[in-house]
Symmetry: C2
Subunit: 515 residues, 2 copies
């Protein structure tokens, strides 16, 4: 077998059996191997941002890495923004990037570039395979890196001759860096902090702590000690809905975040970061916690936060009976005009059991959380890296990972245009994704940020850089052009109807919410 | 004035008065300055690949750099593939990339990344401005870099506080690195080579030598000496059409290139590269010239090839009267079925005087050159970096540069899907671009490459990675969705009619050529 086949076989044997791909000449032997190797599902994306974002969504839902297949430096470059988001979400991904044959690189052919240099800023692990016999072991090492704790973005660069020359066979994946568990000392200190002080203590959580079990533990700890539990502003994945502990997040807007945090004396971090502002603004703080507030890290990314929360709960003597009941906003079927509240209500009402919500709703969705807290149980995925064009690819990959679950992809119109090609892959693969585009015809977030950074009121030319109203984008036409049926809605009743239809029917759909 | 305004004023004063932009929070002060500074045209793109490709097209037609405005690392990353193409075409561009405020970078906020690391592989010049007072001078240095000979991709990274803090004023652009002219010795040696040997000598040209004047000089040198004149496989820009010297290019396909080059004893390079294969293939050479063939570089990128060709022509005693008449394929209005020949004829027939042709026709267009040689005079732009998604942005920028010229953008369906968002910018700006999509529903080039790299016949799964037929893409719907009228054609007569209509009417149009 050649190097490419040894890699594909190593991937499949190592449990990496989905490949999101946009291959070129240098990757043709990898593609050819697909016909000789059973067990690898290869999913074509028409743009590499779709490919890498899909791998992110796949990992978040499946908990195990997919691979990507990318064409030299520029193909990798096109996928970097969503690799950035994936890296910040601590998703594990095995990127396979083609390269010129080793002896051809020096000729500076048109596609030649510094692939390792491009890969490094958005990868945790980078290696170029030196020859065909090394490819399987390098692939296995990449899998181990992607599966380690915390997971890594592993980028393996494959010169074309290492793909077509004779290899030795497959390689076994070395043991990934083990989950270190947690520090008993850190838990003991957290218990000491939370033991007294009640509402002056904040348990700030993200990552694995946001599973149903992690939230239940946090809830009984809060019930026992009186501490407040908050989430970061964004999370890779959060279990939500009826019967689960509903927590608020630190608001994106600094003026809202500061008063929420101002009275805390202690913050216990469970995978979360010390709260800082998304951006800097003149004369506003970067650090959001009040002066004098002490920060204690209980677990970091890659730790076993569930076990740590169990130990903390035990140390505090917290029990399920300590849980204080929550009063959640009632789920109602809205009527009337579309606004953030009626949209949230419509989505909360229509959401089927076990739905996956991918949230790139930006400004429109800032108030969605409380209004959907009592919806049927679901998972909620957010953008950890702030690079827009995240949601439609992530929804694509989540749907590949979970074919039995409905995916609701909520996306602003500006963000949707970044990686709109995702719709074609959804149509080709028959993926169960409902894309809900909030078409307010503006980068609304920038309208707020313009003022936020002290730039005052935008004049005519500045407004032209923020608005998407000339021409307006017909998302239903775009969807149809890529084989996805769509519908535009202008009222809550129309949105209810479109969502009911989309939830009832399998396969991709798009709803343009005209605001 | 603040740093952002000092930069915008420096750009305008330095002759950089077009900015292709997709700004975010960290760039809002730059956007705000647009309303206070006269003379900067800011053009919004919905994806950064559109922005950077447009700057490339602008430079190629205008000969002077535009700027871009990009949002932190991920925004730059999205634009890297077309910066790669621009760099390989030696286009000058001033990239302005926002960054977190200097004091905020260390907090590792979601959008934090290694921007300089990302910029370096696709930039010739990279600098991060340290403070507001340095921004104007740094911007001026970036302009000088972009305007130097050969031109450079200059990337200036602007932390947000350098934009909003008080600056000193504008800065004067230092003299760009001067055009070195050419080497008289190199010309004398070229003359000596070409003086004898006749058809055993090849003058291989690109760059500035492909202007109308450069080609005329090459033609009289060829007439005088009997040498052959060829172009590289791809060129940034070539003057073509009736009354201009029509030259062939070295074919992309190695099996066609080798016999064409096999008898040459000497190659004189005019900006061109020593001919090498685009990709490596097993058991095929990377170097395309025959063994024993000597290579002599007369001019390099950044030299004054026109002056060098004039000197060479003088040294050889070549005169306009030496020109041998060329027999070019007649321009005919085709009829019947669509194939590469009838498509080329239809485009050659419809092409208006002074058209700009942006060529990303990939496989469909490989035979277009001879059939359009006698069309009305036009310029022909190609992809120098091999990263697809090049043409629709480059066409956008070319149309901004030359509002009085019709732009014909020829693009394969696979390539068109990379940066399809260009259509929206064309609609918004009312740009005179006709996008002609060759919809063969396959990455046809890869079908050939699959065989070329020795992977044999693709099986079912491999074919799925090459074909775009499930679902088929409706480009007319995509265009309409972005405000561009479109039409699908299935015969030569329909294509003639659609082209005539598109040429007659100003503003953007799309033609889907269903093959």
């Amino acid at each position: 077998m050649n190097g490419a086949e040894s890699l594909v076989r190593t991937l499949v044997a190592g449990g990496v059996d989905v490949c999101f791909a946009n291959p070129g000449t240098s990757e043709m032997h990898f593609v050819a191997a697909l016909d000789r190797v059973e067990g690898m599902r290869c999913v074509l994306g028409l743009f590499e941002g779709v490919v890498t974002g899909a791998a992110d969504g796949y990992f978040r839902m499946k908990g195990t890495p997919a691979s990507t297949l990318l064409h030299l430096g520029p193909g990798l470059a096109n996928g970097l923004a969503n690799l950035h988001n994936a890296k910040k979400a601590r998703s594990g991904i095995v990127n396979i990037v083609g390269q010129h044959a080793t002896y051809h690189i020096g000729y500076n052919a048109p596609l030649t570039s510094d692939i390792e240099g491009l890969a490094r800023p958005m990868s945790d692990w980078v290696r170029t395979s030196p020859n065909a016999k090394a490819v399987a072991a390098d692939g296995a090492a990449a899998i181990a890196a992607a599966k380690s704790a915390p997971p890594q973005i592993a980028t393996l660069i494959l010169p074309a001759d290492t793909a077509w020359n004779e290899a030795d066979g497959i390689a076994k994946v070395p043991p990934p860096a083990q989950q270190p568990g947690f520090s008993s000392d850190a838990v003991a200190k957290a218990a000491k902090i939370l033991h007294s002080g009640g509402t002056q203590n904040l348990l700030l959580v993200t990552g694995n702590a946001l599973s149903e079990r992690g939230l239940a533990l946090a809830q009984q700890i809060a019930g026992k000690t009186g501490c407040k539990v908050l989430g970061q502003t964004y999370h890779p994945r959060m279990a939500r809905g009826r019967g689960r502990f509903s927590i608020d997040r630190i608001p994106y807007v600094i003026e809202q975040a500061l008063p929420l945090l101002k009275d805390f004396k202690n913050i216990v971090l469970v995978e979360a970061n010390d709260p800082i502002a998304f951006f800097a603004y003149p004369n506003k703080p970067s650090v959001l916690r009040p002066e004098g507030c002490e920060v204690h890290r209980m677990t970091a990314w890659g730790d076993n936060s569930i076990a740590a929360l169990e130990a903390l709960s035990d140390a505090l003597g917290a029990k399920p009976a300590d849980v204080k009941p929550q009063k959640l906003a009632e789920i109602v079927k809205p009527t009337g005009a579309l606004n953030y509240a009626t949209i949230a209500q419509a989505i909360g009402y229509a959401m089927p059991e076990n739905a996956i919500v991918v949230d790139e709703s930006i400004t429109t969705g800032r108030g969605f959380f409380p209004l959907t807290a009592a919806a049927r149980p679901h998972d909620w995925l957010q953008n950890m890296g702030g690079s827009i064009g995240f949601s439609t690819p992530v929804a694509t990959g989540a749907a590949v990972a979970c074919p039995d679950r409905k995916v609701l992809c909520m996306v602003g119109d500006g963000s949707a245009m970044y990686t709109i090609q995702s719709l074609w892959t959804q149509a080709r693969e028959g993926l169960d994704v409902v894309t809900i585009v909030f078409a307010n015809r503006i980068y609304q977030i920038l309208r707020g940020e313009f003022d936020g950074v002290g730039a005052g009121e935008p004049g005519k030319r500045a407004q032209d850089m923020l608005k998407l109203d000339r021409p307006t984008i017909d998302f239903v036409a775009l969807a149809r052009g890529m084989g996805v049926p769509g519908r535009a809605v202008t009222t809550a009743d129309e949105l209810n109807k479109a969502l009911a239809e989309a939830v009832a029917e399998p396969g991709p759909r798009l709803i343009e919410v005209q605001m």
